[in-house]
Each structure stands twice: as structure tokens, then as C-alpha cells.
């Protein structure tokens, strides 16, 4: 199932690499190289899933997730981080994130999580009377 994914990560190389891999799994992917850019892009259009990195220089993952949830509550958020922290993990989940995943994680696993998040969003849209 192809989903529209917004990769939010200020590590240019990593973001590009990840996007390429996700595309090969049939997802359509755009990249925001930072939290502020992500929020700008979400003003233009909605995505099914935002894949947010925790450690970003300008606006960190927590702020970004907060911003996305406030602006587009129906966009599912998956956080991807290499810096495991129970506190921030639970905080992110309480903000309504779909999942909080730790690097390294396989692209198959990540893609499956994206599919699931997408399915959840589709149901939420249906419930809201909007059909995808």
C-alpha cells in the first residue's frame, strides 16, 4: 500500500537515503529538512504519515511533533530516533504519535509501520466523514 510520507530530518544525506528506500516500497515521499519546513509543507498539503527525527538542530522532534499534532491532527506521526529515552518516548506517544521507533530499524519494519499508520488514518478520515 503506498502512502504519502513526509520525512522530517535535518541530516540531508540520511533523509535522502531513507526517502529513496521508502519510495522503493511504493510510498510517495517528500523531505522537510527541519521542523519549521515540515509545518510549512503541511500547510500546503496533508500527508498520511510524517516520519520525524528527534534530534534536529533548530526545532527538535518534540516541538515538531507538537506542531504537527496541533496543525494537522489527522496526520499520523512516527518518530524515528537513535537516542532512546523512555521519557521522551512516552511524551511523544502521549502527544498522539503512532509509534516511536529506534534506529537502527529495518526498512521493511518501518514500511510496515507506515502502512499501519496509514490504515489508522484512513479509518479516522472515514469516521470524520472524509473518504480517502
Amino acid at each position: 500500500m503506498g502512502c504519502s510520507v513526509l520525512v522530517v530530518d535535518d541530516e540531508t544525506e540520511f533523509a535522502r537515503d531513507l526517502s529513496g528506500q521508502l519510495r522503493s516500497f511504493g510510498h510517495s515521499v517528500d523531505i522537510a529538512y527541519g521542523g519549521a519546513e515540515a509545518l510549512d509543507m503541511l500547510k500546503q498539503r496533508e500527508y498520511d504519515v510524517a516520519l520525524v527525527d528527534m534530534l534536529m538542530q533548530q526545532m527538535d522532534g518534540m516541538q515538531t511533533v507538537r506542531g504537527i499534532r496541533k496543525m494537522s491532527p489527522l496526520v499520523e506521526v512516527i518518530v524515528l530516533t537513535g537516542h532512546a529515552s523512555i521519557t521522551s518516548g512516552i511524551e511523544i506517544m502521549k502527544l498522539g504519535a503512532f509509534d516511536y521507533l529506534l534506529k537502527p530499524c529495518s526498512i521493511e519494519f518501518l514500511s510496515r509501520k507506515i502502512d499501519e499508520a496509514c490504515e489508522k488514518r484512513e479509518m479516522a478520515l472515514q469516521r470524520a466523514g472524509r473518504v480517502k
Binding site: 534530534l55 538542530q57 527538535d60 537513535g82 537516542h83 532512546a84 529515552s85 523512555i86 521519557t87 518516548g89 512516552i90 506517544m93 502521549k94 509509534d99 516511536y100 521507533l101 529506534l102 534506529k103 537502527p104 499501519e116 490504515e119 489508522k120 484512513e122 479509518m123 472515514q126 469516521r127 466523514g129 472524509r130 473518504v131
Partner: protein, 845 residues
């Protein structure tokens, strides 16, 4: 597209069902992820495989997130807030967090403290090393240099004020992703980031009054020794020895530069790797720096109040002329004295080698290695009186702490003994290990000092420097010229360590001992006598190295189990108690409830049970009027309506579905059973008049009237791996709920059967018949009067499918038989018939 009216409502009902199923599946998946994670942690802990702090932290985090997902998805199935469960989750999570970060947050704490100001409660601020030094001030016989500590709070301030937290984390992450290939480059980057930043004004303001006071007391030209004292340093069982830099003979002008260098040394390549191996979460390792007045020593060294390898009644004093550095870094051969622990103290052995070099203070600051004046090289650097003074003081310190100690001491030029540091000493178990006889001609090297007892065999890897050592293959014996903490990286792969030069008190020897590596140091000729690539055996019991394998296989106990009591394994054990412990074991017990959950495992167990119970009821509010159901066209006279949760959107115009359209694996199995040849769904079971009236009477007060009338259609809510089938045929009620996927741990069948048209004794006999059949098929069964509850869990999808076929057959075969069950003897007869494959049970219809 916007949909109006009933269609929209129907779609919402279907969406609601889909959402419940989705949440259910999320629970099953998260449950598996969490259980796998627990098993992996246990395995790594038990087998000492890949257990580093980053792993423990990651495992705890993903487990916590998984349990959070489980709880929040349960809320979506039950439509009720699981407040108690969330509370329990928060409590357990707090406990786990405090195991991981025992003192995660400080704030508003002092940046500097004098030794006198340090009390028992300030260890987290000054680190163990400085806290115990402050303790020594209270022991009258021990003289400790004047000094103060820049606290862990100052370190935190330095990092935060300079915005280093994120950048350091990012570099460490890059390191993890590059699999340590970029270790040296990343280490340098981080250290430079620290060195480039200024010491914040607050730190300078806190330190200056102490520096002024010391200069006033000791003169303007006072030199300082800056020693690290990390907040997780020197825990019992973990030395962190030599992981941070120490700077001696520091002039006041260089004070803050050296201070930053101590902080930066937290990120030296070997310190980073050491933490990875032995634990210590980066941000929790805060470095306090002890700033002591420099003792200008005539001689200095280390005393072990008990010989870690030899007799328990023996102290070992190592001493070097000048500064004590050669003793701790193993850079030169030093004097050694063995002294009895029992009174009167007696010097039992003196080992006085020629000491060619010594470490001294330079005029302008810093230290230098110089030659020992020719006439003094062979002289002992301590007098007997001094040896006794050291031994006596050391014993009183040991008495104070109650455990054997490793104590750094120094004699100044005025002959005053100073204690620079004292810490607990690990005494190896299994010290008395019998050695095996080895042919003399096979012995390659003999002598030296055993730093960690044990026997290991491997290919010799002779390294002349640290760079060479980095290529050591796994399991090889590392043979080096001289010990240095920089080799600790190579130790991670080595099976044993041998050096030409170095003391058992050297940092590398301590690290090797902590890892349980058989180690002999100071063998003098190991690098020249051992040929690279040869198979050798290091007998770090007898202190010999011989070629080939040991003549007799050494007992398993010879090699201490590495890492089994490291900081990280202790943390892992602690968190596992809160994660993997299981106290909710019996779902039937009244104590099986949310508020009784004490661990993550309890929560997952509880939720799994509740979720399955809830899914069992998913069918309750579905009726033929729901626009999303479709009638199944199947060759048995049953009205089965299907709701397929895998369908997306609406498929208008279709109101029928064929079995060939069904993709649900478990439902197809159930149907297969129901359609088995020999099962008669149609036809009236002959009953006598008495039985007939009892049927009529029972319908009037049937206990099990739900939302649907009895005898109405059956409904199947299905997905690829799921079926919930509910039927209310002929006065009884049967529900099958099953998940059947690839992972056997998620798979289950729950089955409930209740009711009937006949009298209670007959209905009970039918229930007995059903439960006996199901028990024969390995179900766990509970039967009470006419109620049967049966479950089967954690079977492969193949087994689940086979059992679903049986359930389908059973539902068909039991239809209306209750009225025929006039005697107990019929129960067993029917069971036999059924198990033989005679689904009419021998009843003539």
C-alpha cells in the same frame, strides 16, 4: 467525497468495527514486540552477549513505548479509559527510569565544594572518588592534600551553557550508525567542541575564591593536581580506571584549560568504547574534577591492602621514585613490597628492580620522564619505616571502609605521607586454582605478575603499538610491550593479555581483570619469545606461557565469567525486575485485575486477556440491518452474514459473498468444519413430547438473550487472520473468536457455548460432551452446567486451522442433541463417536 444518510452510518459502523479490530491487532503486535524484547534482554544478560548501556536503554524505551501502545489500544477496544492501568504504567515506568538514571536531574546545586564541605549526601555532586577522599579527611592517620571539587553540576552547566548536549548526542549517534568505524574522528570532533568553548563565567566565579584561599595558604607558586571523579565512577565492580585524564603539576594560568581537558577526556576513544561495553549512559556520566594541591613526591605508588591474587594475609605496595604515574600506567618497572596484614607487620618480600626512568614535575607546569640518577637506580625508593607507615595507614583506611582498598599514596620531600585516593578493591574468587603439569620445554615465558587469574588458549597477536593492536582478531591472545589504557579497545576482542612491562596496578591490568581476562603483566620478554600467530596458552595461575593447548582441559571455573557483575548488567537486572517479572499468573483469580499489575509483563498479560474477552463481544451489536453485512452463499442451510474488515471503502451493490471470495484463513477453516460431510444442519432431531415441552418452556425464560433473538442468523466478522463467529442456533449460543497468523504467540482460539432448549440436566450433558471433545483436542476447558469456555493458545497456524475445523464440526454435530441426552452414559458414547469421525453421533434422525 462526502457520503450522506444511511450509507454513511453503515460505513461508520463498519469503520468502527475495523478500528476495534485494528486496535486489537496493534495489541497483539505490540505484545509480541514487547515479549521478544524481554526475552532478548534476558538472553543477553544471561549469556553476556552484546549487553551495553545503549542497548539496555533502547530495550527499555521500546518496551515502554510498546506497553503504552498496548494500553492505549485497549482503550479503543473497550471504549473506556483504563485509568488504573495507566497509573500502574506510570509507576512502573518511573521505577525503570530511576534504575536507568539514578540521579538524572540536578539543578541549583553548588558548582564548587571544598573537601571539608563534602558530606555523605554530596556524592552525586563530587563523584565517588572525591567523596571518599573527603571521607579520608576524617581518618586521623591519613593526611590528605588540601583541595576543592568542581562538581558534576559545573560539568552540566558547562555542557548546557555551551549548547553541547545535542551536538554531542548527534556525534555519538553517528558513531553508533557507523558501527565505530569513525571512532577516532568522532572522538576528536567531540573533544575539540569541548575544548573550543570557554568555561562559563559562573564556574570561574565559583572556583576563584577556592584558588585564592589555597594560594594564600600554600604560597603563590602552588601547583594543582586535577583529577576526574565521575558521578558513576568507582561503583563496586566497575573501576572506570584510567578512563579520564588526570593532570599533574598544573599552574594556575592553565587551570581552566586543563579543567576542560579533563571534561573532554570523557570522549577519548577508549573511554567511549569502555562505556559502550560496561555501561554508563553518556549524559548521566557527569565529571566532577578534584583540584588538589600538588604533592611534590619523592616517591609515590599504590598499596593493595589485600593481595588480589595471592595470600589473603598479604598487602602489596608498589612504589616508584618521583611521581606515581609509572605504577598506575605500567610505564616502568617499579619496586614491590609484600607486607603481612597481621601484627606485627612484617616485610616478607622485596622486589627492587633497576629503575632507569622516573616521572617528575616540570618547572613551567606538566610532567616529564627523566633518568634516575645512576647511583640511585638500584635503591629501594622506600625505607622500612615508610613501608610500615604506609601499611599501617592503609589498614586503618581499610578498617574504616570495611573492605579491602586500593590506595594511592605519595611521600613529599619533607617525608610526609599523603593519601591521594582510596577505593574498594575487587578480590578475585577461585584464587586457588590447581595448575596442570606442563612439559618444561613447551614453556615460552615465565615470571611477571598475574593480574587476573585464569587459563586461556589462543593465537598470539603481538602488537607493538595501539594502532597495530586494533587489528586483533577475536579470541587472540594480546601480547604487548607495555600496558596503557589505550589498549582497552583491543581487550574487548582478546582472550588473554600479556605484557613485557606493566604492573598489576596499571589501569589496563585493572580493566582486563574486570573483564575476567587471564592477564600476566611484566613478563619482560613476552613480545620477543612469543611468535605471532602461534597457538599459545596463557596460564595466569602459575604465571607461565607455553606453546600449544593445555595438557588437560581447564575447569570451566578457571575463567571468571566476564561482565557478569558490571554496572550495566546490574542495571539490566534491576530494570528486568520491573519489566519482565510476572505476578499476574491466573486469569481466573479475582486478583487478576488492572490495579494488581506490578510489571510491564503483568500489564501485557492483563491487557491480552481483556482484549481477547472484548473481541469476543465484537459481534454483539451487529445485525442483518447493518448495511455492511453480506450474506454468505454456502451449501449449508444456515444464514451466515459476513463483515469483511479487510475491504476498503464501500463495495456498493454487492449483498452476497461466495466462499471463494473469502480470504480469512481461520474462517475458511471453520467453514470447512461446518461443511464436513456427514454433518446434518437441516432436519429435525426427533424428541419425545416431554422434551418438546421443555424446549417451549425454556424459551420463555432463557437466560442468554442478548441483542439478538435466538435462532437468528449467524455473523462472522473476518479479516485475513481473524474470525469472530457468533451463532444463535436452536436456542443455544456459540461464539468462536480466533486469530491465526504467522506468529504463533499471537494465535489463539476462544470458544464459548451456552444454552439450549432442553432441561438443565440435558443441556449440562451436552456441555460435558463438548468439553470432553475439546479437551481431547488440547483445549483448556472450563465447564459449568450448560456453559463451556474453551481456549487454545500459541499454536502454529496449521494447528489453529485444524482445531477450527474441529470446532466447525462440533457446532454442527451438537445442534439440538441436548434433547436426546437423557443419560450420563450418552456423554462418553457421543464423545467416542465424534472422535471417530461419526458426526451424526449415531443418533437416528
Amino acid at each position: 467525497m462526502v457520503i450522506f444518510g444511511k450509507k454513511k452510518k453503515d460505513l461508520q459502523i463498519r469503520t468502527r468495527l475495523r478500528e476495534r479490530y485494528f486496535s486489537f491487532k496493534q495489541i497483539l503486535d505490540a505484545n509480541n514486540e514487547v515479549l521478544e524484547q524481554m526475552a532478548d534482554m534476558r538472553h543477553r544478560l544471561n549469556f553476556d552477549e552484546g549487553l551495553d548501556m545503549a542497548y539496555v536503554r533502547a530495550a527499555c524505551t521500546s518496551t515502554a513505548v510498546g506497553v503504552f501502545r498496548i494500553i492505549s489500544n485497549l482503550g479503543k477496544i473497550t471504549d473506556s479509559q483504563e485509568d488504573i492501568l495507566s497509573q500502574r504504567f506510570e509507576e512502573i515506568t518511573r521505577r525503570i527510569s530511576s534504575c536507568l538514571d539514578p540521579k538524572a536531574e540536578t539543578g541549583g546545586q553548588p558548582l564548587a565544594l571544598s573537601l571539608e564541605e563534602i558530606d555523605a549526601g554530596s556524592e552525586f555532586l563530587v563523584g565517588k572518588k572525591m567523596a571518599s577522599l573527603a571521607d579520608l579527611v576524617r581518618i586521623s592517620s591519613a593526611r590528605v592534600p588540601t583541595g576543592f571539587v568542581l562538581t558534576t553540576e559545573a560539568h552540566l552547566l558547562f555542557v548546557r551553557r555551551n549548547g553541547l548536549e545535542q551536538t554531542i548526542n548527534k556525534e555519538l549517534l553517528r558513531l553508533r550508525e557507523s558501527n565505530e568505524r569513525e571512532l577516532d574522528a568522532i572522538s576528536e570532533t567531540i573533544q575539540n567542541m569541548i575544548l573550543e568553548k570557554p568555561a562559563p563565567e559562573e564556574i570561574v566565579r565559583a572556583a576563584e575564591p577556592y584558588l585564592d584561599r589555597i594560594e594564600k595558604q600554600h604560597g603563590r607558586n602552588t601547583r594543582f593536581a586535577l583529577r576526574s571523579s565521575a558521578s558513576v565512577e568507582d561503583r563496586p565492580g566497575q573501576s572506570f580506571a584510567g578512563q579520564f585524564s588526570t593532570f599533574l603539576n598544573v599552574v594556575r594560568e592553565d587551570f581552566y584549560e586543563r579543567y576542560k581537558q579533563v571534561l573532554a577526556s570523557k570522549y577519548s576513544p577508549h573511554a567511549i568504547l569502555y562505556r559502550k561495553k560496561f555501561g554508563g549512559v553518556d549524559e548521566n556520566i557527569r565529571v566532577a574534577v578534584g583540584c588538589m594541591v600538588m604533592v611534590s613526591p619523592r616517591a609515590a605508588g599504590i598499596v593493595f591492602t589485600q593481595d588480589p591474587r595471592g595470600s589473603r594475609d598479604r598487602m602489596v605496595i608498589n612504589a616508584a621514585p618521583g611521581l606515581g604515574a609509572p605504577v598506575s600506567d605500567g610505564s616502568a618497572i617499579v619496586d614491590q613490597f609484600h607486607v603481612t596484614r597481621s601484627q606485627p607487620l612484617t616485610i616478607r618480600k622485596r622486589f627492587i628492580p633497576e629503575k632507569k626512568t622516573m616521572c617528575v614535575e616540570k618547572q613551567g607546569g606538566g610532567v616529564a620522564v627523566v633518568e634516575v640518577p645512576a647511583g640511585l637506580q638500584a635503591n629501594p625508593c622506600l625505607s622500612d619505616a615508610q613501608i610500615f607507615e604506609i601499611a599501617g595507614t592503609a589498614l586503618s583506611i581499610e578498617q574504616y571502609y570495611g573492605t579491602p582498598q586500593n590506595i594511592e599514596w605519595a611521600y613529599d620531600h619533607e617525608g610526609r605521607l599523603f593519601i591521594l585516593q582510596s577505593r574498594g578493591l575487587q578480590i578475585a574468587e577461585n584464587r586457588e586454582i590447581p595448575s596442570e603439569a606442563v612439559h618444561e620445554e613447551k614453556i615460552l615465558v615465565r615470571g611477571g605478575h598475574v593480574a587476573c587469574p585464569g587459563i586461556a588458549t589462543g593465537k598470539a597477536f603481538v602488537a607493538h603499538d595501539v594502532a597495530e593492536a586494533s587489528a586483533i582478531p577475536s579470541g587472540a591472545v594480546l601480547v604487548i610491550r607495555q600496558t596503557s589504557p589505550a589498549y582497552s579497545r583491543a581487550l574487548l576482542k582478546a582472550s588473554a593479555l600479556v605484557s613485557d612491562i606493566g604492573a598489576v596496578t596499571s589501569h589496563l591490568a585493572l580493566i582486563a581483570a574486570e573483564m575476567g581476562l587471564p592477564t600476566i603483566v611484566g613478563m619482560r620478554e613476552a613480545t620477543t619469545r612469543i611468535h605471532p600467530g602461534d597457538t599459545i596458552t596463557v596460564d595466569a595461575v602459575e604465571g607461565v606461557i607455553y606453546s600449544g593447548e593445555p595438557p588437560v582441559r581447564p575447569p570451566e571455573t578457571v575463567r571468571p565469567r566476564p561482565y557478569s557483575d558490571t554496572h550495566v548488567s546490574r542495571i539490566a537486572r534491576d530494570v528486568l525486575k520491573h519489566i519482565a517479572g510476572l505476578t499476574l499468573t491466573n486469569p481466573q483469580s479475582p486478583a487478576f485485575n488492572a490495579s494488581a499489575c506490578k510489571t510491564y509483563h503483568d500489564i501485557t498479560r492483563y491487557v491480552h486477556e481483556v482484549a481477547i474477552r472484548e473481541m469476543f463481544k465484537i459481534n454483539d451489536n451487529v445485525s442483518a440491518r447493518t448495511g455492511v453485512v453480506r450474506r454468505l452463499e454456502v451449501g449449508i442451510p444456515l444464514s451466515i452474514f459476513v463483515i469483511d474488515l479487510t475491504e476498503r471503502g464501500e463495495e456498493a451493490g454487492k449483498d452476497k459473498v461466495k466462499p471463494t471470495d473469502i480470504t480469512s484463513v481461520p474462517f475458511l477453516s471453520l467453514l470447512e468444519g461446518m461443511c464436513t460431510e456427514g454433518i446434518r444442519w437441516a432436519g429435525f432431531v426427533p424428541i419425545d413430547m416431554k422434551g418438546f415441552f421443555s424446549v417451549m418452556a425454556n424459551t420463555l425464560y432463557d437466560r442468554y438473550q442478548g441483542d439478538r433473538a435466538l435462532g437468528e442468523a449467524s455473523y462472522a466478522i473476518i479479516s485475513e487472520n481473524y474470525v469472530n463467529f457468533s451463532s444463535r442456533l436452536a436456542y443455544h449460543f456459540a461464539t468462536v473468536d480466533s486469530y491465526c497468523g504467522e506468529d504463533r504467540h499471537s494465535n489463539y482460539i476462544t470458544f464459548r457455548f451456552m444454552g439450549g432448549g432442553a432441561s438443565m440436566d440435558k443441556k449440562t450433558r451436552r456441555a460435558q460432551f463438548i468439553s470432553k471433545v475439546l479437551k481431547a483436542h488440547e483445549f483448556l476447558v472450563e465447564q459449568k452446567e450448560d456453559l463451556v469456555n474453551a481456549t487454545l493458545r500459541k499454536r502454529t497456524s496449521k494447528v489453529i486451522c485444524e482445531k477450527l475445523v474441529v470446532l466447525g464440526q462440533l457446532m454442527g454435530a451438537t445442534r439440538q442433541i441436548d434433547v436426546t441426552m437423557v443419560s450420563d452414559a450418552l456423554v462418553d458414547r457421543y464423545v467416542q463417536e465424534f472422535l471417530r469421525g461419526n458426526f451424526t453421533l449415531g443418533i437416528k434422525r
